[in-house]
Symmetry: C2
Subunit: 404 residues, 2 copies
């Protein structure tokens, strides 16, 4: 008998038909003799609809009240699923975040999990019940409802799996695993049987949308083995996300990702004085802007340029900050380019395998794709290319590392 | 400074526009310097929609899970109202049933309130906030969410008013008070300034829909003064419901009610033996059927008839019970008549005022309305008439007791 945690997202429980299908997966897992805890998101667009209702009343709604409002979505999902399962003869009980004792800090809208009391879950498992837990939500020390923010239900699932010592944590999505690249963009993309936490984190932060970083970080910290699999093909093995993979040596890299939500900012004609770069990036850091790749032109005179990329969402904030401090920084002008994309390769074994970067650049050179910027880390290499060449870049790199 | 409890029903918060209007009433009360606790129902048809969703998945849904599901409706209402009020500059906080410590027994779907810890409410009032409490819901000793059943939000309001020692408990509805008769049926109906708990209970149980009995019973028990008033005319005084009214002597009766949800059952040709009536009504009592008016024909032979009324909803159950025990009871046949209505007058001073019944019967006789059955109690007199004469009966009785 295994203790299994399963998580289903909002689209998997969007209507009665889909709830029934998911109930079928749950029932099968339960009837195979497993103990089972299921984490659910709110149905379909419920969360967006609730936010829209709030915005109609007050465009700057209190985050505490938004959490109170939004948490109803997941609560309704778990109650409906329990109702469906019981109709199928499967004993089930739905529980909210506060009922399972999922304690968080008070950062409404993006609360961090502090602890989880397993008492209620243990008691219900002891009764032979399937536990349905409302994802995305917890309760703070004042007994106020909090939500965990983006990727919250995945994070709930991993937290529950960690606290209860689950044997595995299955994240059901609309894809059947983690691929070497986005299959919609790279026809030859292959499903990975396994991937390390670190690789998964890099892929996620580089634009792969399968799992939210936060849940993977938590899984890594508490050694929770995750599995990404499709709710449409529940019996097809997905991708295991774990500490060390068996096949680490099989391919040099785990995958390729593309991130188009990036903006290139050029600060042109900065005075070439010591500390200018520090001054600039401290300013952006204070404004909570995540600068990604940085390129500094060599100071061959009294002026230099600094070029960097930022998330598209921070563009407005960045330009305002730079404009406000134009005199202090002493630059000539700012240029912005949105027609860029970051293409990255990720692999835990990369640092110990010589020539990985060279092969990536060779693939791009052969395809006559120009590289604007390069950034490397222990387990990834990213290049900035023109947005309209990004998909082709992914494909040629993929062919190089995963030959057909 | 008074402590006021206000309750608004689902239609008062059905959409953004109505929420804003109610928020205006709340803001005005708060800005007049009062401490304020507001109880809200779920928006519009939310509860029915949730029940329909559940029924689609399982027509015999677990009551525990239905309560988990339905309670989200009130939770969303209070969060939205808090968001609206804060946008208007009124400090507000929304709280669920479990957050205010409203403890109930475990009768899911119709839970009884056991206690209410005022700690959280006191703390929030101390911060100068308007408290928005999700009506209709509580939590049992296992920390499971319960709902109070019909009239639940009114009952929540009275319970909160009682526990917090509120100065008054205002129930906002779509009518502006309690009338001497249904104004849609009796054009001359007058709004009462005051009515006693007992009269209100009788009117409610006899078909007046303004307040649910359970909330009035609770108000009577804890001496909570209720006021029924319109959310469309919040500054027009409504009707006070209290222990003793100032104007008790002004009119002989407080009001007239009609109940059309009644069925007349005739058990014809019973053997005229001692104990037959007892046998019959014990049978119905065991089947939990509430028998209302009873008429027994005089036993002028070996056979007699027993005629009684029951709530329309119990008709099927009654007929099944009688059929099952036909041999034991020994009757000839059963006749059923749905074309009847009960018209009642209610007044606390009735028992000490001679001739009230006579005046009622006189009014009906003058109008040539036939009386099928009569029932009297300490504070009411009811007559059973043909359904199509009930409205006319109300009007002629009303003219007799409340002359224009």
């Amino acid at each position: 008998m295994s203790l299994i945690v399963q998580k289903f997202g909002g689209s998997s429980v969007a209507d009665a038909e889909r709830i029934r299908r998911v109930a079928g997966i749950i029932a099968e897992t339960y009837q195979a003799g497993n103990e089972l805890i299921v984490i659910l998101s709110a149905q379909g667009d419920t969360t967006d609809e609730l936010i829209a209702k709030a915005a109609e009343l007050n465009p700057r709604a209190s985050k505490r009240e938004l959490d109170m409002l939004m948490s109803t979505g997941e609560q309704a999902s778990v109650a409906l699923m329990a109702i469906c399962l019981k109709g199928m003869g499967v004993p089930a009980v739905s529980l909210t975040g506060w009922q399972i004792g999922l304690k968080t800090n008070s950062e409404y809208g993006s609360a961090r999990i502090e602890s989880l009391s397993g008492d209620r879950i243990k008691k219900e498992l002891g009764q032979g019940r399937v536990i349905l837990v409302a994802g995305f939500q917890g309760v703070n020390s004042s007994n106020d409802i909090t939500t965990l923010g983006r990727g919250g239900s995945d994070t709930s699932a991993v937290a529950v799996a960690a606290a209860m010592g689950a044997d595995k944590c299955q994240i059901f999505t609309d894809v059947d695993g983690v691929y070497t690249a986005d299959p919609r963009k790279v026809p030859g993309a292959r499903k990975l049987d396994e991937i390390t936490y670190t690789e998964m984190l890099e892929l996620a932060s580089l634009g792969a949308q399968v799992l939210h970083n936060r849940s993977v970080e938590l899984a890594k910290k508490y050694h929770v083995q995750m599995e990404v699999l499709s709710s449409f093909k529940p019996n097809t093995p997905g991708t295991l996300v774990k500490e060390v993979t068996k096949n680490m040596e099989q391919f040099e890299i785990a995958g390729i990702a593309k991130d188009t939500n990036t903006t290139l900012v050029e600060v042109i004609g900065l005075k070439d004085e010591p500390g200018k770069a520090f001054q600039l990036f401290r300013l952006l850091s204070n404004a909570k802007i995540n600068v990604d790749i940085i390129l500094q032109s060599s100071g061959c005179g009294v002026r230099k340029d600094i070029v960097f990329t930022i998330p598209r969402a921070d563009q407005e904030k960045t330009l305002v900050s730079l404009e406000e401090h134009k005199d202090a920084l002493g630059y000539e002008r700012i240029a912005v380019d949105q027609d860029v994309a970051k293409v990255s390769i990720v692999g835990a074994g990369m640092a110990s395998t010589p020539g990985v970067a060279a092969r990536m650049f060779e693939a791009l050179a052969d395809a006559k794709i120009n590289i604007n910027m390069i950034s490397t880390s222990e387990i990834n290499i990213s290049v900035l290319v023109a947005a309209d060449q990004a998909d082709r870049a992914m494909n040629v790199i993929h062919e190089k590392f995963f030959p057909q």
